[in-house]
Symmetry: C2
Subunit: 361 residues, 2 copies
């Protein structure tokens, strides 16, 4: 056994800043490495005698043994690490999603490798390659475009992949997204019920599933309410940003000055629209109502408090992680697509139109 054990938590002759290995534990417990390995692994724990198990565990504790996940990963070819790619963490949409992901993953002992892509193909490729070289067991992408080369190739190679928030065209990849269509429909219904007839849409980028789905749902809902969507009433923003929203709103009101309500592609676009309205001296909701999408943090505090479609982002993250874990457990499972309910939250940015709907023939 050990001669004079150094103060505490040291391990014999090894240099002070070295971690003890399974070999050290085995030596300390007087067993073979393999037995120590079995004792430390929950899955093989029952293969070892109860008594020796206690001895080994005790030795491990005494030495402060921590299993080396890197070595284990090399041996087992599984790292219990998941790559998470988001466009930009400072977009308030993503923190709750990522939080949901990490919460679910951590519960199963998985670690989250986080990377931002800034919607840049080259950055995304580089980050994805880096995480793949790290042998992440799977990926959760919040960066999907409807057509996505990198994503398609990865899926074809059989890389375990799950999409969150956005989805992709023509590919059987599991995903967890909000019900964009239903949310948009509720927004239009709300405005129609208030008496609005000239409703515009500031659409998100059409190469993103959210942008396209919401735009189509908008037209469909308008049609269903027998409301017209004349040329210029739908303007596509260059991005999900405040500034793109501001610019698009000006174009919308330029083409359709009598617009009384706007369905924005998301909350950032809605904020931009509010700015544009303020610049143009048009009151919201007095003259123009605005509905957002996502119910980002603090949009209830702005002026006017934003009517918007709530999407359960944390739960989106949880479900995405859950899907990935299931897929890792059973690689041949069918690629589920989860749609989480969205619901309109009415606040102060919507009101009946100031002038009654035109009563002329």
């Amino acid at each position: 056994m050990s001669e004079h054990p150094p103060p505490a938590g040291a391990w014999g002759s090894r240099s002070a800043s070295q971690s003890p290995t399974l070999a050290d534990v085995a030596r300390e417990a007087g067993v073979h490495k393999a037995t120590a390995s079995r004792a430390m692994n929950p899955l093989t724990r029952d293969q070892v005698n109860a008594d020796t198990f206690r001895r080994i565990l005790h030795a491990a504790e005494r030495l402060g043994y921590v299993p080396n996940t890197v070595a284990r990963g090399l041996r087992t070819n599984r790292t219990a690490a998941i790559g998470v790619l988001v466009p930009d963490l400072t977009n308030p949409l993503f923190p709750p999603i990522v939080r949901g992901i990490t919460d679910r993953l951590a519960a199963d002992g998985y670690t989250t490798l986080l990377a931002n892509t800034d919607n840049d193909d080259e950055q995304e490729r580089a980050q994805f390659a880096a995480l793949e070289s790290r042998r992440a067991d799977g990926f959760i992408l919040a960066t999907a475009r409807r057509e996505h080369r990198l994503l398609a190739r990865a899926a074809e190679r059989g890389v375990p992949l799950v999409l969150v928030n956005r989805t992709v065209d023509d590919l059987d990849v599991p995903s967890a997204v909000g019900d964009d269509a239903a949310g948009t429909t509720q927004a239009v219904a709300h405005l129609a019920a208030l008496g609005h007839r000239r409703i515009g849409h500031l659409a998100g980028p059409q190469d993103l599933s959210t942008g396209l789905t919401r735009q189509r749902a908008f037209r469909h809902a308008m049609d269903g309410a027998s409301l017209p969507v004349p040329p210029g009433a739908v303007v596509t923003c260059t991005g999900y940003t405040e500034d793109a929203g501001r610019l698009a709103c000006r174009r919308l009101l330029d083409a359709r000055p009598d617009t009384t309500a706007i369905v924005a592609g998301n909350d950032l676009i809605a904020l931009g629209a509010l700015t544009a309205l303020a610049e143009l001296g048009r009151g919201c909701p007095a003259e123009v109502s605005v509905v957002g999408f996502n119910d980002m943090a603090f949009v209830d505090k702005i002026r006017p408090p934003l009517t918007t479609v709530h999407v359960p982002h944390h739960e989106l993250g949880v479900q995405a992680a859950q899907l990935l874990l299931e897929r890792l457990h059973d690689p041949h499972a069918v690629a589920k697509k989860i749609l989480l309910p969205a619901r309109l939250v009415v606040r102060g940015s919507t009101a009946p139109p100031a002038t009654a709907p035109s009563a002329s023939p």
Copy 2:
């Protein structure tokens, strides 16, 4: 997967979903593993003949070789991965910090391992252990309390550690934080210049460096302006949350009903204070002015737009990452503490007091 051999980029006889290894590349190029290794590593690249280098690189490309970071990590005992611990990513304070960290780390080829602790000791311990078992090369903690057992022990063990946003007492750990004292001083000076004399402080938790520093700076600045800080004018919040701010604000106004201005420990506390004021029917800034701290995203959009102290959070993250990289490069470097400038941003939540400062004797 598919029975049909994959179209292109397959590697001889290996099973379809296997990555090619250095051995495969070496065989393809007709050299030894070791030579291939040297060719693929930027640091040893020049040890290899230019011609064979091209041959190896070509072979690697043909096979789609990606170095296995796990194996490299086992061999070199360095993983190029950094553990990042935050209390809660959905607190708007942290996304820009984390973004700054990942930006700087990614630039040097490091990967970010992200974990949330929810200010819970046990969660933090577990997450830290998990990341350590993964052999992260170092850690950036946004979770520091002034006295922090886990942190202290890790520092003593020589684990490369950097603190961000918050710091710790009595420990030589590098850190990057905002200039809390200077920011608070500016806030008080601003209010005093507006004519406020009865200024209260909703202090953050005093076991956090930010809470203590700002509280002390508040008292010091008040003293410097010859303004009194009577009992009850400083209330400590139970946390950096809206609700804690709301409750504390009620206690403050209960004890000191004639308060005309409030310096909040941070923006969330300020938001809670605004809520409390609204509940009590006290206008802001008409009756009570409020100053926040941090300049979180979108506090310029709320009503009233929040006067607050801007802290360069992204840069805080960048600097923290930079400190850690330096420390990894030179483990014996001195533990720098970086203080980034904070500056008051005046918006709509502050105004001169409604009643002129009491003119009685």
